[in-house]
């Protein structure tokens, strides 16, 4: 586990509470950054690392649930663990429905929090990996020439070289050369793999 390469953002208006959480996280080698309000968190420049948010529900100004909505609206994709001073079932249902990892009532068992944090960080790492993989595919796709893209779209749609040649008004041999280039540039080892890539890029592929 690469714990040093992750960061836990803690938003709680109570300074000793923030410090105690940081102390707890430090004791297992996790890095924590502290914020006294939702606004402070939104305005901060956050390191580009796998992370998660430990968020108090009751905050002055924007509440924790408001912040959850704001991050979603702003496209900040970060897993959230809620902590609250008093258990409130409707509130926790709302938070969980909106995608929270966990909802803990203070005081909580340290292991419950640490488990939730590990789970949240794992979720963020996966999401980040996925975003990076799609980013890579997209840049590869963008490196294709316009003609190669036309060929790729038709290959993954299941057309034969001859049909593609007919549609584009080129010979079958030329289509073959383009097709080879596409496989090469996209880094696809097989047609099936290319179809999967096209699917992830949102290109139309026939449903099997």
């Amino acid at each position: 586990m690469t714990e040093t390469e992750a960061v836990v953002f803690i938003v709680d208006d109570d300074a000793p509470m923030r410090q105690s959480l940081k102390n707890l996280l430090r004791s297992i080698g996790l890095r924590a950054e502290l914020f006294a309000s939702a606004q402070e968190f939104l305005q901060s420049k956050r390191p580009d690392l796998p992370g998660c948010l430990v968020l108090d529900v009751r905050l002055p100004g924007l509440s924790g649930l408001d912040l959850q909505r704001r991050t979603a609206e702003a496209g900040i994709d970060i897993p959230i663990i809620f902590i609250t001073g008093y258990g409130d079932i409707p509130m926790s249902v709302r938070a969980m429905k909106a995608g929270a990892v966990e909802f803990l009532t203070k005081p909580f068992r340290d292991q419950d929090l640490l488990d939730a944090i590990q789970q949240a960080l794992e979720r963020d790492r996966k999401a980040r990996d996925q975003r990076a993989a799609i980013e890579l595919l997209r840049s590869r796709f963008e490196s294709l020439t316009p003609r190669e893209r036309e060929v790729m779209v038709r290959v993954v749609a299941g057309l034969l070289n001859k049909q593609i040649g007919g549609e584009l008004g080129t010979s079958e041999t030329t289509v073959k050369i383009h097709r080879h280039q596409v496989m090469e540039k996209m880094g696809a080892g097989s047609l099936a793999e290319l179809v999967r890539m096209a699917d992830r890029l949102g290109l139309p592929v026939p449903k099997s």
Partner: protein
């Protein structure tokens, strides 16, 4: 009646003489059973309405107590959670044989334990009305501290704040924290009263000065300023015996219903949707415990003035 039911009759009559020696009564007998029954039903309804209201009041009281308990629970939970976190961290540091970090964590546990105790102590003070912790203090300083605390509230609600603090204020004997609570309560009330008052100018004034006499009973109809001017005309300024320090918080909100001032100070009376209705009741009991008075008057041209007077103690005056 033969079938055992009861009928209500109304009998009216008056004697009449027809000139001869015959004496007769002329009158009417009315069956009012239906009316009587309707009246009884109405009465029954009133009784159950009253019961419902009593019950509602009780539910409201329970809800309020529930809210109060929730906010106390929140207050105490905070240090408690910090104790648990720091304690857990301490165990982990010990397991890692990092004694210095473990020592610091243990110190934090102790500090947070004290913080929880302090909160409990404050709540108990509030509940048991133990005598306040009195010190000599400059009320102007207390006012300034509170203004600093409330400044974000004041700004957020676009309220313009003016202070007029007398610079010759004698020190008074009082509990700083409790008096802060009172002033903060009055300030926040004023700000909230104006926040609901549309787009009219929101002016908040806080003033302090010495006073030589206080309105005795019904202060509602009396402007303390006028009363004092009269007194001053009669006496030479140097001879005036200052008895009180007066702090007033004026707002330009919707103001008060003059006939309805007293309920404001009752516990659980609130005009705010989220209020506990404890603020003014607690404030008044704090001021009373200081030997002072807290009252409300209408402001001109509109709004309210909440002010309190605290006695000046002689031993410090000379």
């Amino acid at each position: 009646m033969p079938n055992g039911s009861v009928k209500f009759l109304r009998v009216m009559g008056r004697p009449s003489e027809d000139g001869s020696s015959n004496f007769e009564f002329v009158g009417a007998v009315t069956d009012i059973t239906d009316r009587k029954r309707a009246e009884e039903e109405l009465h029954q309804k009133e009784v159950s309405l009253h019961e419902a209201q009593t019950e509602l009041a009780h539910v409201r009281w329970l809800t309020t107590m529930g809210e109060l308990a929730a906010s106390i629970a929140h207050e105490v939970n905070q240090p408690l959670a910090a104790v648990v976190n720091n304690g857990s961290a301490c165990l982990r540091w010990l397991a890692a044989q990092n004694l210095e970090e473990a020592r610091q964590s243990a110190a934090l546990v102790v500090a947070e334990g004290h913080r929880a105790g302090e909160i409990i102590r404050r709540i108990r003070t509030l509940a048991k009305k133990t005598p306040p912790q009195k010190d000599w203090l400059d009320l102007n300083e207390t006012i300034d501290e509170v203004i600093a605390m409330a400044s974000s509230e004041v700004q957020q609600n676009r309220v313009s704040l003016q202070t007029e603090l007398a610079d010759d204020l004698p020190l008074i004997l009082g509990d700083r924290i409790q008096l802060q609570q009172v002033i903060l309560n009055l300030l926040i009330n004023a700000v909230e009263a104006m926040a609901g008052a549309g787009e009219s100018p929101r002016e908040l004034g806080v003033s302090s000065r010495k006073a030589s006499e206080l309105p005795t009973r019904e202060p509602n109809s009396l402007q303390i300023g006028e009363l004092e001017r009269e007194t001053l005309e009669r006496k030479n300024l140097a001879e005036v015996e200052w008895t009180h320090v007066l702090v007033a918080v004026r707002d330009s909100g919707p103001g008060l219903d003059v006939k309805n001032v007293d309920p404001l100070f009752k516990a659980f009376h609130t005009t705010k949707p989220k209020g506990l209705g404890m603020g003014l009741a607690i404030s008044r009991s704090i001021i009373t415990a200081h030997g002072g008075r807290l009252w409300a008057t209408p402001n001109t041209p509109r709004g309210a003035i909440f002010q309190f007077a605290l006695p000046i103690h002689e031993e410090r005056m000379s």
